[in-house]
């Protein structure tokens, strides 16, 4: 199930809640809770997300209509997770200058497979393959279709609405990726070893959550507290 993670930019709590149909992407909101102290002594949250059972990533469909062997491709790394604050300090929502990020199309894969950005970010989609690609998404509030374009060209999309964006290629059904659009900047994508780090977190108590594409249901959460002195907190997660 897709799970849209949304941190409201307003001070009020808007419980959009789970929609009636359990199959519809659920929108969970969390309100900003003011930090008890001014954000002058920021701390950090770091840790590791261990994803134990990723299952087989989606592969190429059998192609009985094909006339030959298809090349092998590096499997998608489904252990890549995004750790984020479900609640964030007000300053996190202040307007930031235009940001850019890149999601390549290379060897019939989207690289990176998981991208996390702040709302308002432009994402470039360069085609680094020899073949056409047609990047598109049908995700609610962030749908787009870049059409077919050849190697050496790129097109861009500005993602304005927080949420999880499923990205596909219309030509190659085995290509897919995720873009997580946050309303604030307190998130991090785990590295090859599952490690993450959130810097500049003001003192306060927060709910830390993890998104991973293999998790269907509520995301793993932990409550963490950054002391007034700007502590460094370690929070590990295990996803089975």
């Amino acid at each position: 199930m897709l799970r849209i993670l949304y941190v409201s930019v307003t001070a009020s709590t808007i419980a959009l809640g789970s929609l009636a149909a359990a199959l519809v992407p659920r929108v969970a909101t969390a309100a900003y809770r003011p930090s008890p102290v001014a954000p002058h002594a920021p701390g950090a949250i770091h840790g590791r997300v261990e994803v134990r059972a990723t299952g087989r990533p989606p592969d190429m469909r059998p192609d009985p209509g094909g006339l030959g062997i298809t090349g092998t491709r590096d499997p998608v790394d489904r252990r890549r997770s995004v750790v984020y604050l479900e609640t964030a300090p007000r300053a996190a929502f202040e307007a930031s200058p235009d940001r850019r990020a890149t999601m390549n199309q290379r060897n019939e894969r989207f690289v990176p497979h998981v991208l996390a950005i702040v709302a308002g970010t432009y994402v470039d989609f360069p085609n680094d393959d020899r073949t056409y690609h047609n990047v598109f998404s049908l995700s609610k509030n962030n749908d787009f279709n870049l059409g077919r374009y050849a190697a050496g060209h790129k097109k861009s999309v500005r993602f304005q609405s927080p949420g999880v964006v499923r990205v596909f290629c219309e030509i190659h059904s085995h290509m897919s990726a995720f873009i997580l659009v946050f309303a604030h900047r307190f998130f991090a994508v785990t590295d090859d070893e599952g490690r993450y780090r959130l810097d500049g977190v003001p003192p306060g108590t927060y709910t830390l959550a993890v998104w991973n594409e293999t998790v269907h249901g509520d995301p793993p959460r932990r409550t963490v507290t950054i002391g007034e002195a700007g502590d460094e907190v370690e929070a590990d997660f295990t996803i089975r």
Binding site: L23, G65, G68, I69, T131
Partner: protein
């Protein structure tokens, strides 16, 4: 149940299902097993439309209506080694028997050389349409005439005279001739997209050029699992990709067409064996931005015996041409159209048409247009209108409206 009621039910099904609500209970991609060496995918299409019991414009060689069909297919691949794979596609139409549409082994004999060999029930190398995945790669619902429309040619029965052939104009769904199998049966299309042939093929790539060659037991019109005449079909296609997005292909095929019993009976009269189907094809596809444009030209000739006057003079010929386009104007919505024409060479009868040169089957023109919406990436609804014209038959023109829900994983 009437067409409009069926359409209503389909729309109700679609509208009553939230766009995002399918993801949980329908797989989004192929299922893998055995450490990724086994991959299984599927496709299901529910197509509703009006009956076609009098005009038979959309009947297929399995005697199903292409615009009114439930089709389920499961495809699987076992790839025990990087250069070895076993592939199959099982298909059922209208919940009837399951047919092995494809079942073959694929081998790349030399590492580092883009040369592949496939053996078994294999995809046709001729043309472009028949290898496409139907639910996900057909912008419309109907098939091009060349790949579906039943002509009055049969591999198991032949006309005695030219008048016999002319008598069957526009009756391809129920053809009867005095020589061979005399019970009525369907004719064949120029190229069957509903059955694949059995044999061996090799394909290779060198830069922008792809080439494929096949030896099979049937013909384009009449693909076979088991041989029925001891002959072999040779077919080949060369495709050129000068720039990304453009593919131009040329195809040719030649194979023995008539079944053995008919060949034997005919040879006793004419002394001639080896009646063949020969075909040439030209296909092209160009895509850019939100557009895809495809077209094909196919010329097919069948040798028919001249058994008695008025003789069928030389091979009978059919030519088909279609062009289709699709435009995706938003991430969810697209529109598509196809213009299609099928013509036939002329023959002279005696009793029929006052001995004037007359096309041996009735030329057909078809226009199909419609649109669709992606409810999700792999769940599509299409609605099309198709109009057909021909100059013979009890029903000479007819419009069909058809809707389809297509899902694949």
């Amino acid at each position: 149940m009437c067409t409009w009621r069926r359409l209503g039910l389909l729309l109700l099904l679609v509208i009553g299902t939230p766009a995002g609500a399918q993801a949980q209970w329908l797989p989004e991609g192929p299922i893998t097993a055995a450490r990724g060496t086994v991959t299984v995918a599927g496709e299901a299409t529910v197509t509703v439309g009006g009956r076609d019991d009098s005009a038979f414009f959309n009947y297929t060689d399995y005697e199903h209506n292409a615009l009114r069909m439930l089709r389920v297919s499961i495809s699987g691949m076992w790839r025990p080694a990087a250069r070895l794979a076993f592939l199959t596609e099982l298909r059922s139409e209208d919940a009837q028997r399951v047919i092995p549409y494809a079942m073959y082994v694929r081998v790349r004999p030399w590492k580092g050389r883009a040369l592949d060999v496939q053996a078994g029930r294999i995809p046709p190398v001729f043309g472009a349409f028949a290898r496409r995945s139907y639910g996900s790669d057909n912008p419309l619902i109907g098939y091009p005439l060349a790949y579906q429309y039943l002509t009055s040619i049969r591999p198991d029965a032949v006309p005695f005279t030219a008048d016999d052939l002319l008598a069957m104009r526009a009756r391809g769904w129920r053809v009867t001739y005095p020589v061979g199998v005399t019970t009525p049966g369907p004719g064949v299309p120029l190229v069957s997209a509903y059955r694949w042939d059995t044999g061996v093929q090799a394909s290779g790539t060198a830069g922008p050029v792809e080439a494929a060659f096949a030896i099979t037991s049937g013909t384009l019109s009449n693909p076979r699992v088991t041989d029925d005449n001891g002959g072999r079909q040779l077919s080949a296609r060369i495709a050129w990709k000068p720039v990304v997005g453009l593919v131009v292909g040329g195809s040719a095929a030649r194979g023995q067409f008539l079944i053995t019993t008919v060949e034997t009976a005919v040879a006793e009269v004419t002394g001639r064996h080896g009646h063949t189907q020969r075909a040439l094809g030209l296909d092209a596809e160009y895509s850019r931005a939100y557009w895809i444009v495809r077209g094909e030209l196919i010329d097919s000739r069948w040798d028919l015996p001249g058994l008695a006057p008025p003789l069928i003079d030389g091979p009978v010929q059919a030519r088909a041409a279609y062009i289709e386009t699709r435009y995706r104007f938003t991430p969810r919505f697209f529109a598509a159209a196809r213009a299609d024409h099928l013509t036939f060479s002329t023959i002279r009868g005696q009793r029929r048409f006052a001995g004037q040169p007359t096309p041996w089957d009735s030329p057909v023109t078809r226009i199909e247009a419609g649109g669709g919406v992606y409810l999700q990436r792999n769940l599509t609804v299409r609605l099309v209108a198709q109009h057909n014209w021909r100059d013979a038959g009890q029903v000479r023109n007819r419009t069909y409206v058809s809707a389809q829900l297509a899902y694949w994983f």
